[in-house]
Symmetry: C2
Subunit: 245 residues, 2 copies
């Protein structure tokens, strides 16, 4: 039996984009970590890495976790699921070896680690075996409604977070049944979402936000957006509160 | 016409409770503000004030905004609405006079200013007239699922934020129609919410979190909570992702 102490696993939210929107705790944990792990696509920068890189210790070990190339696979196929599951297993094993050797490992996660973050796949595999702490972060949607100055909800509002991939009829029903909503992953679904906002009576409460977490972010009323172009990470905010003010 | 520059209004999220979960930007703005405003009930501490007080400049002007006593009024009565609206008008006017005199004013807001925060009532009254910036914060619900280590949602999950005040039948329908949910303002509604979780098939995914944003916070499976006691600010997390893992 070794008397060496195992390291601690940290799931660290890096916030929506501005390095100043890291929490003070996240900054401290990142600066002190022996190993910094982060998910990235091959050849691509990691946004979380870019946000936090100025804080890394000089002698830090960087552990990029590169998603396998699965472009030829259907995302719902067993082959895809097996590839992704195997990738998360391997990633967890690599992190576990550092933890067992006594090193602390901070896994960077854009926004908040447990809110749509890939970190949860590592947490699920490691949190029962190692000391672990999750550092909450500011979500991308908070960054967007703060940029746009849109009070999203108040009092007893019902707030719904919806993927733009939903069928139009379901979007209409869910928007009509919510006081406030955030519609994520807009991309090519913008025309359908615009129709659903109109049909549900929510168009006048809806704000389009593009690159809302970046320095060059911008926003406008959905009703004023004439074209159908939207990046994948654009989102729409439906303000519950302003409707009654 | 005066050549004196007007001050900037900042809506500053102070995060869920731990002063280290303030963002670095919030800490900078708070330390540099001429005036720090915050909402409080008469005789009560402000939680946001408590979180941020260590950062105030020595010569800061503190501006507590004390809610009027309305205990004798029905919250939905015209008299209540008039009292609250007049209070927000007066509060905005007090802040405006500092801004006009060239002072920067930071309004502290627990969690995130535009997500269920009272700051939005000031924003609504002042943002058209003065330079204004909202500093996003970590929400209480993020603090709670991070404490509990509950991965709340992933992929195309539909997430719903619900007040526990909803009628039981509506809670059942909305829980059944959501992948993930956060049920807020639990208090005396816990028995009803527990029944709704059971009826909607979500009980096994539900975690009760009490004082989740405080140093002494704790959590447990709702299925394991035998008593019916819950403070007003306790909440229940219904994990979307774990259900399929």
């Amino acid at each position: 039996m070794s008397d060496r102490q195992e390291g601690v696993l940290y799931g660290v939210g890096t916030g929506p984009g501005d390095p100043e929107l890291l929490t003070r705790k996240a900054a401290r944990i990142i600066a002190a970590a022996d190993v910094i792990a982060y998910f990235a696509k091959r050849g691509n920068h990691s946004h979380a890495h870019q946000i936090a890189a100025e804080l890394f210790a000089e002698d830090v070990t960087e552990l990029p976790l590169l998603y396998p190339v699965t472009t030829e696979l259907d995302r719902h196929s067993p082959a895809y699921r097996a590839a992704i599951s195997g990738f998360f297993d391997d990633s967890a094993a690599r992190i576990a070896s550092y933890l067992q050797a006594g090193h602390s490992v901070a896994v960077l996660s854009e926004g908040d680690p447990l809110f749509f973050g890939s970190y949860m796949h590592l947490h699920h595999r490691l949190a029962d075996r190692f000391a672990c702490e999750v550092i909450a972060g500011v979500t991308a949607m908070s960054g967007c409604w703060s940029l746009a100055g849109v009070p999203i909800c108040q009092g007893d509002d019902i707030v719904t977070v919806l993927p733009a991939t939903l069928p139009e009829a379901e979007l209409i029903d869910r928007l009509a049944a919510s006081d406030a909503a955030v519609i994520m992953k807009l991309g090519r679904h913008l025309p359908k979402v615009r129709r659903a906002l109109l049909a549900s009576g929510k168009l006048d409460q809806a704000t389009y936000v593009e690159r809302g977490t970046m320095a060059d972010g911008h926003f406008q009323a959905v009703a004023d957006k004439a074209d159908d172009h939207a990046p994948y990470f654009a989102l729409i905010l439906v303000a519950g509160w302003q409707a009654r003010s």
